[in-house]
């Protein structure tokens, strides 16, 4: 009949010596159970103590022994070994293509501030200050002479005729009073009008040079 070993009795036994003898020279991860049992039986026959240890206990003990030895030698623990093994397996596995989830941006509203009476008042003041009745024309930036353009052009022609004095060609610079750009433009526009209506002729002898005004032979006819 198999005697069940009580823990107290087991601890009293020289179990460390027993394990050392039983597992000497064996690979703890590849225990040859036949050798182990043979050594155990041999041990039992040699020792006067009636003690039997279940094989499962021997296996567990051998694992614990290995863990202890590894710890003492500074090697990786069983847990670390398992992790390393898993990592190795993972590395050798086929790479998995990562499928990114469909990108969906959250919908957000574009905020628009609610108007207040203060806004309305400000807009009212702005509207009043910027409103210009349709009929009212803006004040001209350049003061125009009261005389219509046509009248001014005819006056210029009369002036030209008075200046002809035997010569029928007058340089543009001679008809200017002040010579400022504003006057130059005004006189030139009037001359263009007169030239367009055939009252005078304009020509230049060189590019960007003096403009010459040619007045026709019959001044009275031209002035009419």
């Amino acid at each position: 009949m198999l005697e069940v070993l009580e823990p107290e009795r087991f601890t009293r036994a020289d179990w460390e010596e027993l394990f050392r003898e039983a597992t000497r020279g064996l690979d703890p991860w590849a225990l040859d159970i036949t050798v182990l049992i043979g050594r155990f039986r041999e041990f039992l026959t040699k020792t006067p103590v009636e003690m039997r240890v279940p094989g499962r206990m021997v296996l567990a003990s051998s694992v614990l022994l290995r863990m202890k030895s590894e710890r003492m030698e500074g090697k990786a623990t069983l847990a670390e070994a398992v992790e390393a093994m898993l990592a190795e397996e993972e590395a050798s596995a086929e790479p998995v293509v990562y499928m990114a989830p469909e990108l969906r941006l959250p919908l957000r509203r574009r905020p628009r501030a609610r108007l207040t009476v203060t806004d309305l008042r400000r807009a009212f003041v702005a509207a009043l200050s910027s409103s210009r009745p349709k009929g009212e024309k803006p004040k001209p930036q350049i003061e125009m002479k009261a005389e219509p353009f046509r009248v001014r052009a005819l006056n210029l022609l009369r002036k030209l005729l008075s200046l002809v004095n035997g010569h029928q060609v007058i340089p543009f610079s001679q008809i200017l009073e002040r010579g400022d750009p504003k006057e130059r433009v005004a006189r030139f526009m009037e001359l263009l009008h007169l030239a367009g209506t055939g009252k005078i002729q304009l020509f230049q002898q060189e590019f960007l040079g003096e403009i010459y005004i040619e007045v026709p032979h019959d001044p009275a006819q031209s002035a009419g």
Partner: protein, 167 residues
């Protein structure tokens, strides 16, 4: 299944214009009576004083908007105002002179006022009444409600005198 109330609330939150019952029904695939029921629930919930927005009716549709009494406090978070500046100016002129002939508003505000008036009518702020060759423009009850005024005179008074803000 998404609860109808969540759908309606999300649609109103996103839209930058009033949504009609028909549009909500068609686009959300909900019966109109269901939408009306959840609109009532939403309106009731938002009426609570601790809520900052309200459900309002504008130009025949429903819209979520900030409560008038706190609009000024949160203005900094919304750079774009509800109406463009030029349209607001045209509205201010209409408020000041209503009922006013459209031609008079255009005379004061220029040709672009036609587009402003069209937008204001579509928003339900202004009503146009045919008067021969022109139209007579009135402000609507919705506009008064929007600015928290009971009468046009009250709004006009607030417009002309700072400090006479509607309660």
């Amino acid at each position: 299944m998404i609860p109808p109330k969540a759908l309606v609330e999300a649609a109103l939150f996103l839209a930058d214009r009033p949504l009609s019952l028909a549009e909500l029904s068609q686009k959300l695939g909900l019966e109109e009576h269901v939408i009306l029921r959840v609109l009532g629930q939403l309106s009731e919930e938002l009426e609570e004083p601790h809520r900052g927005i309200e459900l309002a009716q504008e130009s025949g549709g429903y819209v979520l908007r900030v409560k008038r009494e706190i609009a000024e406090r949160v203005r900094a978070f919304a750079p774009n105002q509800d109406l463009s500046e030029q349209t607001l100016r045209t509205l201010a002129v209409i408020v000041a002179k209503a009922p006013v002939a459209q031609a008079e508003v255009v005379r004061l505000r220029g040709q672009r006022a036609y587009a402003h008036i069209k937008e204001l009518i579509s928003r339900g702020f202004v009503q146009a009444e045919d008067r021969g060759t022109t139209k007579l423009l009135h402000v609507t009850e919705e506009l008064l409600q929007y600015f928290g005024a009971k009468t046009l005179e009250e709004l006009r008074s607030a417009l002309e005198n700072p400090g006479n803000e509607p309660a």
